[in-house]
Each structure stands twice: as C-alpha cells, then as structure tokens.
Amino acid sequence: MNSVRLYFIFFLMHLKSMMQHKVSFFITLIGQFLISFNVFLGVYFMMTRFHQVNGFSYSEVLLCFSITLMAFTLAETVFRSLDTFETIIGNGEFDRILLRPKNSLFLVLCSKVDLTRFGRLIQAVVMLVYGICYSSINWTPLRCILVVLMILGGVCVFGAIYLIFACLCFFTLEGLEFMNVFTDGAREYGKYPIGIYGKTVLFICTYLVPFALFQYYPFLYLTGKSDNLWYSLLPLFSALFLIPAFLLWKLGLRHYQSTGS
C-alpha cells in the first residue's frame, strides 16, 4: 500500500513538472495523436477497399486495433523509464536510485511517467467505443471482462519487453534499436488480428513473444469465431512473460553492480 502511495506522489511530481511546460506538453500530446491517426487512416482506407480481411470486418479490426493500441499506450506511459533506460544509466541517475532504501526497479518506474501518450489513448478509446457499438459481437459478461483482460495482458507483455530492453542496457548500449521490432513493430502490426500474417508469424507470436496470447486467440473467442473457452484465459498466461523478464532484470542488476558500467 505504501508503494502505491509513493507512486502516486511521484505521479503528482511528474504532473507538476509537465505543467511547467504546458505548450510543449500539449503539442507533443497532439503530435502523438496525429502519428497514430495516420495508422488509423491506413486501416480505414484498406478496409473501405477490401471490406474484410481473413473474415474480420471493419468494426472488428478497429476493436482489435484499439485493444492493442490501448495496451501499448498504457504500457508506454507506465514503463517509459525502461524504454529510456540507457539515459538513466548514462547520466548516473541509476546510481542515485541505488542509493535509495527502496526497490530499485520500483524507483526506476517512478522516475518517469509519460503523460503525452494520452493523445494516443484518446484515439484508442474512441475506436474501442466504435468497435463495441458497431461490431456484431454477442456481449456477455465474460466477453466484457475479456476485453479488460486482453488490455491488461497486453500491458504486461509490453511491460515485459520494455523490461528486457532495460536489462540489455546493463550489458551493452549499442545496437539495441532492433528492440523496436517488438515494441513499435507490435503496435504497428498489432492493429490487425495477428493470425492474418500467416502461420510463421503466429507461431513466433505464440511461443516466442506472447503477443497472440492477449490479442489473437482471445479475440477469436470475443468475436465468436471460436468457441474454445480456454482462449479467454490466455491473456492471464501472457502475463507470465513478466517472470523471465524479471529474472533477467535481477541478473542484469547483479552484472551492473559488479562492473559499474
């Protein structure tokens, strides 16, 4: 409970700092919105031309897009510090964090809360509402809960990827741009249900990086394309991805403490 309170205090500090640069804050907010609005335009024009893809209708695709985008945006808001971990190590901020009598990972997460991503969140909410209203999904209580679970599962998976990225920063600071494939790439291509990219991609996204566990399989159940009730539990399993990521963090931290670089 104490940690929650402390996080909230940090959150207020970030808010205060940001309000010192209101203009810049709002411009970035709008910019974030515009960039992902482009992606929406792409989806819109493709779906008006083709009407369906792999049996998914326009409103279903929007629903899927909004779930991925929302999970990614929430994760980016909360885990932004891990995404910029190389600077936290580079400028000595991490040493300062190690001087505090609290869990270091927790303090790293506290050190940055990026509220400019809310521009994108607004878009995700609008699409979610549209998708819920216009798709022909038979809404049961389970399906409503499932949407929430999918988003939370997604936050966990993206969070784990950010954590892995941060762990790699303990070992090297070079050439880590390829990690974008898993973050920006997943956001970019997670706009459609992962199954449409074919078997290989689905395999990778099931067993290697569990994107499909919170996105594709539960979405099949959500849209009634599959009756397999197990699919609705998969978002919970996707959250397990945090465990290896966390173990890697422990390893990275130990490495950092023995090399100090």
Binding site: V39, F50, E174, E177, F178, V181, V201
Partner: protein, 267 residues
C-alpha cells in the same frame, strides 16, 4: 562548389560511423518489410480483384521503401538545425562564406545518403532472393532503370527541399515542435509511406496525386515496379520537376527574408 563537396564528404563519413546502429536498423527494416508484405497478402487473399496493382509491384514497392527509408522519410529532422535557429547560434553559420540554404541542403543530402548507403544493399539483395511474388522484381528494360534513378534523385531533392522550407519556417514561429509534428504526419501519409497511394479510394487518390508529396517516393518506386508507364510516366516526372523547383524557390525566398530579419534584429 568545392567547399560544398568537402562539406558533403565530412557529413557523409560521419554518417557512416554508426555501424552497429545500421546493422540493427537493417534487421528492423527486414522485419518491417516482411510484415508489410504479409499484411498485403492477407488483403490480396480477401479480395484479389480489389487489389489496385499487381502483387509483384506491391512487393517491389515495399522493399524499395524499406531499403531507401532514409532517403524519403520526412521525419529525419536534424534537431541541431532547429536548435541553432531557436537559440540564435545560426548567426555563426552566417559568418561563413557560403549560403545558408545551400549548406544545409547539402548537409541534409549527405545525412540521408550516408544512412541509406549502408542499409540499402543488404535489403535489396535479400529481397531479390525472396520467391515471387514476395520479393523484389527487377525490370528488364534498361530505360526503366535510368528513369527510376532520375526520378529517385528528383524525389530525394524534393524531400530535402521540403525539409528546408520547414527549417526556414522556424525563423518565423515560436514553436517549431508543433509545425514539425503536424507537417511530418501529414506529409508521411500523403507521400504514400503509410499505404501506397493506389490503395486510396479513387476520388481521394486523384487529389493526393496532384499534391507535392506524391512526387517523392511514390513515383520512383512505382516506376521501378512497372506500375507507372507510358504517358503517366512523363507526366509524373514533369510533376516531380515542377514541385522540386517550387519548393526550392519557396525555401530560398523564406531564407532571404528570414536572414534579413536576423540581420536587422542583430541575430
């Protein structure tokens, strides 16, 4: 001319130094290209008759886009230049015996080319080996190659000229960040980097193709892919030339006016 060449060389060599970043970027672009093609394959299977170009042409377009990303992406801004204007450091640049517009233009070219040179070949070769229709299809006609290179050059110059207009506009406004973000996202979509322009509905497409951004990557990649042929090809090249001249003229006009103001205000 010689000083611009040496300036170009310095920037170019500097750009070549980030090898690990280039390798990493290449991996990213391979994945990006593959995902893009798999995505279009799904749409192709959904309704082949709605596909506005051949699948080979689409694949070629996507791979060229990934290989030459650095040449045509609007968002390769150099924050150094923005900063030098907002902080007033630009005054130092004015002390040199070269024209600001030309120097920054050359700099923009060098940065983009050095990035592209490292990354393009492996992507092109790799995609050339991919099985049809997912790989790069090379045109048999030598003329097409020549026209593509001409058109690519025009497109690159156009994008750099566009960047110059935005840099110059910073002299006139307080918030460069706002313009940058807005203009970037608009130009990205209109140039066909989100989805190729033929996939737009016909009435939208007619308008978009008249706009300057359609003259950047859209034209050379589609010429190479065999999607623009005959009289359309000539018209497209003419449009590219027209917009290039327009952008350069606008940029140089803005520069002249801006520098006058800088001189009057004393930097």
């Amino acid at each position: 001319m010689k000083k611009y060449w040496s300036f170009f060389r310095i920037r170019f060599i500097r750009g070549l130094q980030y090898r690990t970043a280039a390798l990493s970027g290449m991996v990213t672009q391979f994945v990006w290209g593959s995902m893009e093609i798999l995505l279009f394959r799904a749409f192709y299977q959904a309704s082949p008759e709605s596909f506005p170009m051949t699948f080979e042409a689409l694949s070629t377009y996507v791979w060229l886009q990934q290989a030459f990303l650095a040449l045509y992406m609007v968002w390769f801004w150099e924050s150094e230049l923005f900063n030098s204007i907002t902080t007033g450091d630009v005054a130092y640049e004015l002390c040199r015996p070269v024209r600001l517009y030309d120097m920054w233009f050359v700099r923009g070219l060098a940065v983009r080319l050095s990035k592209a040179v490292l990354r393009c070949m492996p992507i092109l070769i790799f995609s050339w080996f991919l099985p049809a229709p997912y790989g790069l299809t090379l045109p048999g006609d030598v003329k097409i190659w020549a026209v593509t290179i001409l058109s690519m050059t025009l497109g690159l110059l156009l994008i750099v000229a566009f960047n110059m207009i935005v840099y110059m506009s910073v002299f006139y406004t307080v918030s460069s960040q706002g313009i940058k973000l807005f203009v970037t996202s608009l130009a990205e979509f209109l140039s066909g980097s989100v989805i190729p322009l033929p996939f737009l509905p016909d009435h939208v497409r007619t308008i978009v193709e008249l706009l300057p951004f359609a003259s950047a990557q859209n034209v050379p990649f589609r010429i190479f892919a065999g999607d623009i042929t005959g009289p359309d090809l000539t018209i497209s090249i003419l449009k590219q030339t027209f917009w290039l001249f327009a952008f350069v003229l606008i940029g140089r006009y803005l520069e002249k006016r801006a520098l006058k103001r800088v001189v009057i205000q004393g930097g």
